[in-house]
Symmetry: C2
Subunit: 363 residues, 2 copies
């Protein structure tokens, strides 16, 4: 099948760019002796998880139990659920997953840990736990000052294996001078936390962190020995804006069709918030809901559910109804989740058709 | 099953409120002799389309061919595709739908009309068309001054049946004084367009319009004889902010679980942009991604994919990990599209489990 034969909107993945992205991060992790446990929330496709493992990933990361169930199909020997699992039925499902592969959960409360411990004990299993620490994002995680106390409490619970700590410096938005300074402060914070743990006789075998903008600066964070990047497999416009990649590194784009041209200076394409997600660009960037590959000066100004508004700028931008326009989305993780099927392309050919098996696995 | 037994996040639909919403609009349409062709993009569930038909809807509306295919299961005698269908394969699929039920397409270009005419002729079918007019939103539609010319061109194409006009006054955001003035200007515009069509000897049997904020003012638009509301079945926070309903009219809410409370004054729930969509409230409203039913003074300030940040305000707001929190989303159409399954509730009981059959039917 050729790309020209696809109906739109269709999410395309350039296989060569994807492979290059995968290899680059695998090589970086190897070079710096970092354990790589990619977050599969970005692609949600077991075949791609399998490829990440083939390239040296030690395991895979998911956010939800439903994603863990799907990602078992990658054959992964190890799964990190980077999200507290709360609720009896979910924990039962997680124990079924843990019968198939080694499972670790990152959590930040004794309530979550006690539930997990109870479920593991009942299932006759041992589950790994990482103590989630808040290193500045203000989302989840115990305060660094609470870490030793929390780790000691975790270690007292039966059927859990304390493995170390996890954190997500999502407050680093861009690797400019300020971003680099934040990375260095983070490094000092992590070192201090590890020192306190050691002083309390606690071994943190896994120190898991990292974020997309700071991905290639991960080796600067002293003591961190695991990264779990997600977006790097495809990249997106927000990653470009963060400075962590270029447009040429964006493997995923959405093929749309021009469906209306009645308003002068504007075209409407057949993809809106139900195709791209309504995720805006980071603060400070011009509001555009994607990079219009076929008209780089155009601005994707607005969306409704099924309508994308593209404001044409610059000379020689002429489109007619039926023309096809490729757009790199702002946030590929959210966009993937909206597509039942995505297409792996090389040149003009569609070489792979993947069902997004983990999409909508909210529970 | 009881609500308490559901895993979260779960999209709940209060069946009594939904039925009241459906009956209210059905009665309004009957009273004002308006043909009701509800837009099913909001619910995407054939069983709910069937209920709309039972209550007097003349047909159903969809945006995509994939949604039309799904909505056939409602048994509808009539389907409006309120979106130009572009591309040979899509048109072939649409013709298969048209073998099962009467199909009408709203479009604004001769390119779309010629493709549709060709596909209909090849299939040996006749398809209805509505000329889409731009009445002020600046999205799709021919300019009012172009309508007669466009209608005459449409009427010349074989295998199409010119049925009238369609428009969407999505620029009416709120029915305050300014909104009412816009409605009255729209009424004058529609009257003038119909007069011009009549003068050219063109009969517009269907004059299809309306929008959610102005829904109950539809009878003020002279000559409009069809409405195709979508959101009214459930309503949402944005509809409340537009003034078209109250919180008590919101049938849909999302049940979440508190998964973290480590940051003082804040709780994290297990639903973010992959559960609610990242659709913001209308301009001017305080940025909150939903109305927190169990803490009405709280503000849903921020989202990541699987994390909802709720800032607690006011006294007596205490939550612990594992507590459940119900939230009315900003935009229910976008939220429904993210859920595989939704739950019809009455009191504390789950009475219905519906698969969202039309979700993600992007093509």
């Amino acid at each position: 099948m050729r790309i020209a034969d696809l109906e739109t909107p269709a999410l395309l993945i350039d296989l060569d760019i994807m492979e290059r992205n995968l290899c680059r991060v695998a090589a970086y992790a190897r070079e710096h002796n970092l354990r790589l446990r990619p977050h599969t929330k970005t692609h949600k496709i077991p075949a791609l998880g399998k490829r990440q493992l083939e390239l040296g990933a030690a395991g895979l990361t998911v956010a939800k139990v439903g994603e863990a169930e799907v990602m078992l199909r990658s054959g992964t020997p190890d799964l990190l659920v980077a999200y507290p699992v709360i609720g009896e039925r979910k924990l039962k499902r997680l124990m079924e997953v843990a019968r198939e592969t080694q499972v670790t959960v990152a959590l930040d409360s004794m309530a979550a840990a006690e539930q997990l411990s109870g479920a593991a004990r009942e299932a006759g299993l041992e589950i790994g736990v990482l103590a989630e620490v808040d290193v500045g994002l203000g989302r989840v995680g115990v305060a660094p000052g609470e870490l030793v106390r929390f780790a000691l409490e975790l270690m007292r619970l039966p059927a859990l294996r304390f493995e170390g700590i996890a954190f997500y410096p999502g407050h680093i938005k861009r690797m400019d001078e300020a971003g680099l300074a934040t990375v260095m402060r983070l490094s000092a914070l992590v070192s201090a936390m590890l020192e306190e743990l050691r002083a309390a006789g606690i071994e943190a075998r896994i120190v898991s962190g990292g974020s997309t903008p700071a991905l290639f600066h991960s080796h600067l964070i002293a003591g961190m020995n695991e990264i779990r990047p997600g977006t790097y497999i495809f990249n997106d416009r927000n990653t470009v804006l963060s400075g962590a990649c270029t447009l040429a590194d964006c493997a995923a784009s959405i093929l749309t069709t021009v469906v209306s041209t009645t308003v002068p200076g504007q075209i409407i394409v057949d993809g809106g918030s139900k195709t791209f997600s309504s995720d805006p660009p980071p603060a400070g960037a011009e509001v555009s809901f994607g990079h219009v590959v076929d008209a780089p000066e155009a601005v994707f100004t607005k969306m409704n559910e099924e309508h994308g508004y593209i404001e044409l700028r610059g000379p020689n931008q002429r489109f007619k109804v039926g023309d096809r326009v490729r757009i790199i989305p702002n946030h590929i993780c959210a966009a993937m989740n909206l597509h039942e099927t995505v297409y792996g392309i090389r040149g003009g050919e569609v070489e792979q058709v993947w069902r997004v098996e983990g999409r909508g696995k909210l529970q």
